[in-house]
């Protein structure tokens, strides 16, 4: 839709949409009424869109989840919350620009919001490290979450990260311990925690801010133990077989709902969140507001107890 980035499987549709736009412009310029010519084309575009987007392969949905125009954390925050006030730093090493957090109002209720921020262009991506947090990012998130617990604020965590950062400094500063600590501490915070995977749910990096009372996924988001490329190169020694790995890993929202890992799927506009960020944000907001209504009524100790029971159920095994 003229956003300058077309996925292979959308080409036909994008071409048709371009043609319609051109016709409309032409009609306007010449002062002609071409409604009768345009209407069937628009109908066909709609049909085509439904056809394409209702039969997406797991890999195609990964491409949608990674779409460069997919709404980022800060965009979603601006749609969903009021008066977002960013708070910085882990009080220890530095402020990690890949992990953003702060205070905001959600329909009259003060909440703490955290999430990874991907960049929109190369410059921003370099500044944000492509939304890949270092250990201090996870530690900043934990500081803000513990602060939220201290003041009785619910926590909203948005997740969109390709994975933990594979770098020397991340290892030196204890990335594994930072993730593990978040998992342990999030499990005992006595305030409601709602997590939403908005794009990529890349393994330990995603899990590090993903323990909570409710976990939702946007329709085309994925949540996986390993990237499809990584899986393909281990299994078949060939990263280009990522589409097959995407199938084998069963990491789409429907699979995770079936495994009991998530509580619900938040629908995206036809074709993906990038085609209508405002609508996407409205869908997310409706879901988290409704969940929060329920959760704020539950005493902290019961929240923690039920959160543990949720985690306790996860896993599939048999007995001999």
């Amino acid at each position: 839709m003229g956003n300058g980035y077309t996925l292979e499987f959308e080409k036909k549709l994008v071409e048709l949409e371009k043609k319609i736009e051109e016709l409309k412009r032409y009609a306007e310029e010449k002062g002609l009424d071409m409604a009768e010519e345009i209407a069937p084309l628009e109908r066909r575009a709609q049909e085509l869109a439904r056809e394409i987007y209702s039969h997406l392969e797991p890999w195609q949905r990964v491409l949608i989840a990674r779409h460069p125009k997919r709404p980022t954390f800060l965009e979603l925050v601006s749609f969903i919350f009021q008066d977002f006030l960013e708070l910085h730093g882990d009080r220890n090493f530095r402020d990690d620009p890949a992990m953003v957090g702060g205070l905001a109002w959600l329909d009259g209720r003060a909440v703490t919001v955290i999430g990874e921020q991907k960049g929109r262009d190369t410059k921003e991506n370099l500044a944000r490290n492509f939304g890949l947090p270092h250990p201090e990012g996870y530690r900043k998130a934990l500081r803000l979450m513990q602060q939220a617990a201290k003041f009785g604020r619910p926590i909203i965590s948005f997740i969109d990260v390709v994975g933990a950062y594979p770098g020397i400094e991340a290892e030196e500063r204890g990335q594994g311990e930072a993730i593990a600590r978040n998992l342990r501490e999030m499990s005992i915070l006595p305030v409601p925690i709602i997590a939403v995977i908005t794009g990529e749910g890349g393994s330990g990096g995603a899990l590090a801010t993903g323990v909570g009372d409710r976990l939702y996924m946007l329709e085309h988001a994925y949540y996986s133990v390993i990237s499809p490329e990584g899986c393909a190169s281990i299994l078949w020694k060939d990263a280009t077989k990522a589409p097959e790995a995407a199938k084998a890993l069963k990491f789409n929202a429907e699979d995770l709902l079936a495994f009991g890992v998530i509580d619900g799927i938040i629908p995206e506009p036809l074709g993906g969140a990038h085609r209508d960020p405002a609508q996407t944000a409205a869908n997310i907001k409706r879901t988290i507001v409704a969940a929060l209504e329920e959760l704020v009524k539950i005493p902290g100790s019961m929240l923690v107890e039920e959160r543990y029971r949720r985690l306790r159920r996860l896993g599939v095994y048999g007995t001999s």
Partner: protein, 300 residues
């Protein structure tokens, strides 16, 4: 055995697989060159100094090279024998078996092979036992079983062991050895075991029960980023590879040579993750000292 055959015994070489292209992102599941190091022949070649050692001598020396102190990888049963009072181990939750929830390519066959080769049903043994007379809960991973990776069963056994210690107020010791991290073949369910085990440790911590984590070669990925690094006390064996992201993945991502000793036990001690590096000879007595400091077994 005729003398001639004795000298025909092939030395055990460390086999290294050729490197494969970098998997971008999703770095928790770490594929390492499979070092089949657990000695089973009459003679064993040391992976540290190259010396050929009479395996019986090696066993007597707790599978530590008498010449260079290289700590060989050992299986779960050998570790239990080394740590616990003789005959005191009593296995728990032994009936749990992995299934194939994703219908993942080749997983059932891999499981079967791992079971046959290791003689274990999964990558961890958990149970209770006594160490210098002090009762404790013990979990020991086995790097030979699918590279010590954590799927639903490993996560469940660890969690049940923690809950058992919580109920009985036994101190907990887990010997981690998991180069495979979170087991890819069970997808996101493996990832969830990181959260499950860590949450159980949260409860154990609130109850004031001691947890000692022993990190052995190799401990990486999802095992490292969950229960293995949440010990009240963290002990490393010398010369282990310990970290989150595998060195190969880091190297291929940043395209720089990694500094020598990167992700070694010494590295983790120097960077503040571990409390101490303890020689295998002293592991049992060190754990006993720690237990007594925390007033288990009557203290002092």
């Amino acid at each position: 055995m005729p003398l001639k055959e004795l000298f025909n015994t092939k030395p055990k070489y460390v086999t290294i697989k050729p490197p494969t292209p970098a998997p971008p992102g999703g770095v928790e599941t770490v594929e390492r060159p499979e070092k089949k190091e657990i000695p089973d022949g009459l003679w064993t070649k040391c992976g540290g100094c190259g010396q050929t050692i009479y395996t019986k001598d090696l066993a007597k020396n707790l599978f530590v090279c008498p010449r260079c102190d290289h700590h060989f990888r050992i299986g779960a049963r050998e570790r239990i024998n080394q740590l616990l009072d003789e005959g005191s181990f009593s296995e728990l939750f032994a009936d749990l078996r992995s299934v194939d929830p994703l219908g993942f390519p080749d997983y059932p066959a891999k499981l079967k092979r791992a079971q046959q080769e290791s003689g274990l049903s999964e990558a961890i043994l958990v149970g209770t036992g006594k160490l210098e007379g002090i009762p404790l809960g013990l979990g020991v991973m086995d790097a030979n079983f699918m590279m010590g990776s954590m799927g639903s069963v490993v996560g469940e056994k660890v969690t049940r062991l923690i809950e058992y210690c919580l109920e009985t107020r036994l101190p907990l010791v887990i010997v981690a050895a998991g180069g495979g991290g979170a087991r890819m073949q069970e997808g996101v369910l493996s990832l969830m075991q990181m959260a499950k085990t860590s949450a159980a440790l949260g409860r154990l911590g609130l109850a004031g029960i001691l947890y000692i984590s022993v990190l052995t070669d190799p401990t990486m990925g999802g095992v490292f980023a969950s229960f293995a690094t949440l010990g009240d006390i963290i002990i490393c064996e010398p010369g282990a590879l310990l970290g989150f992201t595998g060195p190969r993945v880091i190297q291929q991502t940043i395209r720089q040579t990694l500094p020598p000793g990167f992700q070694s036990s010494k590295f983790q001690l120097e960077h503040g993750l571990a409390d101490m590096i303890v020689h295998r000879r002293e592991l049992r007595s060190t754990i006993a000292r720690l237990l007594r400091f925390h007033h288990y077994g009557g203290g002092a």
